[in-house]
């Protein structure tokens, strides 16, 4: 028996007052990317699973009071989407301010200065200051790995490293412990990265990390170039998407 063919009907969605066609199962972010509509994202990484954690890609859908993440919301017929309303702009800026206030981000001395997704987005939304009190958590730098360092001060808990390590490298060295403000990225059973028996030193996590949290020991201020597309290309070659 031939399986039922997936419905091939094209779906029409309206994004910012213009109508586009989309394939069923596509996310709003997929459509926007294809059509060149800019939606800021932080935790989304082409090639690994989607978690909808950072809430930066939130969009408005007519008829729904809640804001929804474009990366994790699939298109539906006749959806009317807004990607750039005042409400969204305010929301994005607030989200970024909260991210900055949560840990200790000092761009001027960071390896990823000028090569940082978080910093770029702050510029993009015009975040000229942070209105929330900084929490200054006590975070450490783990320098025990031979080649790389992890600085929890700069981590935004996007979990790109966790997903990449698990889904692309297959090592699952990284994971998350704790909840909310207390959550931290951990190596294996929360041990020093340098003693991890699972880490293959492949460096994919370092490439996908959007901030200066994961960095190469040889890097110094503002010369740590990140290359998340490396992972996306790799997974595309392997014939896998998301």
């Amino acid at each position: 028996m031939t399986p039922l063919a997936a419905p091939t009907t094209t779906i029409l969605v309206t994004i910012d007052e213009k109508t586009y066609s989309a394939d069923p199962g596509e996310t709003i972010l997929d459509v926007c990317k294809r059509e060149g509509i800019n939606i800021p994202t932080l935790c989304f990484l082409e090639g690994v699973s989607t978690v909808g954690a950072c809430r930066l890609c939130l969009i408005e859908i007519e008829g729904t009071r809640k804001l929804l993440p474009a990366c994790a919301t699939v298109v539906a017929p006749f959806q009317k989407v807004k990607t750039n309303s005042d409400r969204l702009k305010k929301n994005r800026r607030m989200t970024l301010e909260l991210l900055f206030s949560e840990r200790n981000h000092i761009c001027s001395v960071c390896v990823a200065n000028y090569n940082c997704r978080l910093q770029d987005l702050a510029h993009e939304v015009g975040m000229d200051h942070v209105r929330f009190p900084y929490l200054f958590p006590d975070c450490n730098v783990d320098g025990t790995n031979k080649i790389y360092n992890i600085d929890h001060n700069r981590c935004i808990m996007c979990t790109k490293c966790v997903r990449t390590c698990d889904e692309v490298e297959g090592a699952h060295t990284w994971d998350v412990r704790g909840r909310g403000f207390e959550s931290r990225i951990i190596a294996d059973f929360d041990e020093a990265w340098g003693t991890s028996p699972t880490c293959t030193l492949c460096g994919k996590c370092v490439s996908v990390c959007p901030t200066g949290a994961l960095w190469h020991k040889q890097s110094v201020q503002n010369n740590m170039k990140k290359s998340p597309e490396m992972v996306s290309e790799l997974t595309a070659k392997r014939g896998r998407k998301g």
């Binding site: 001027s108 320098g143 025990t144 020991k217 110094v220």
Partner: protein, 480 residues
Amino acid sequence: MAEGLGKKIVINPVTRIEGHAKISLFLNETGGVKDAQFHVDEFRGFEKFCEGRMFTEMPVITPRICGICPVSHSVASAKAGEMIMRISPPPGGDRLRRLIHLGQTISSHALSFFHLSSPDMLMGWDSDPASRNIVGLAEKFPDLAKRGIRLRKFGQDISLHVTGKKIHTYGIVAGGMQSPITEEGRKAMLDGVAEAIETTKMGLDIFKKYRDANLKEVDSFANFETLYMGTVGPEGELELYDGKLRFMDAGGKIVGDQLDPAKYLDYIVERPVSFSYLKYPYYKPLGYPNGFYRVGPLARLNMASKIKTQLAQAYLTEFKQMGNGRPVHGTFYYHFARLIEMLMAIEQVKALLDDPNILSKEVFAKGFRNQSEGVGSSEAPRGTLFHHYTTDESGVLTKVNLLIATGQNNPGMNRSVLEVAKQYVDGNNLKEGMLNRVEAAIRCYDPCLSCSTHAIGSMPLSIEVLDHEGQLVRVVKRNG
């Protein structure tokens, strides 16, 4: 307020210096100055908050201590890191680091002399404080003021060409430099050399003319004997970037020579005092307080056996003559020494730019942590600077000690304030010009107080006068 009793005058914050300071003058019953204290109240705990960072990050963190001598901090940091990694930079990286360090010396010295100190010499100590500054200078001596500003820019532009930034420079790393320079950059830097030399000579002339006209005042201005410390090259020559330490006693005898800066703790002890966040360092073999020493331009020129560049050597000979075979102890001579150093720095910049290694593409040596401790030193414009790091096995810093030039000059600055206050301040008839002289004693050292207490920011100055019962008689506050 009790009149006629012992009083204390407090100058806070000191104008035209970098950082935040306060001067207290204690008067005796007859209105003369009995004692003086120079306080630094600010403390930013730089040493503490660097703990927990990777040692490789220090060359970009520590320049933030100070906006005037960031390169010296970066260089000392990078050297400490290199000791931890047990590597040294390739010749190209070494030359570039020297170049940028000289650039900073020039911009800092130009700022100190033309912007901050020359107004006293050119406009007069007692002239209107509102115009006794670079703005007033620009009105009265527009050509000179512009030249002074361009000279400072010449130094800053070296930073710009070498690292892409004028102030908190990027690119100095443990192992060398992050990137090479271009031929266009080299040419652009060379272009400014001739005028920079001319302007510095004009500065030297200003000093010499002032000295000739006011010899007694210049010679007696905070003239007191101390030891001196600084870096010299292998032949005892003046060296601003890398070398060994020399100590000279008040009579001019070299009491320590070719000492390894990494062993600074063998020769220097820091003693905390109650009234200031700055500590009182002294030369260990002579103990406290006989071991007080001064650092910076005056110290370096007193100790240098020679200068290896032609123009500056001629002035060094003159300087030595002023001391009559003994060290020059007069604090006012810091200015002269500073100008001579600046001349040498410009000559060295030219020599470096003509060195083929300067365009080398090999500027960085890779390395990993190989030992726990590292010490780096450099001659900051204000004097010798030490960075001492201890790391754990992963390279995370567990202890940071920064011994800064202004900290080492602290005993000297206190003494200078006292000497000048005794000479000029009359508690019964306080005049602005008197207090300006007291500040000027501090300005001779060109102290970067923000850096010596590891704080950031430039602030104005004030002086307080208090009687012997601690009653405030007068406060003089001015904006910087």
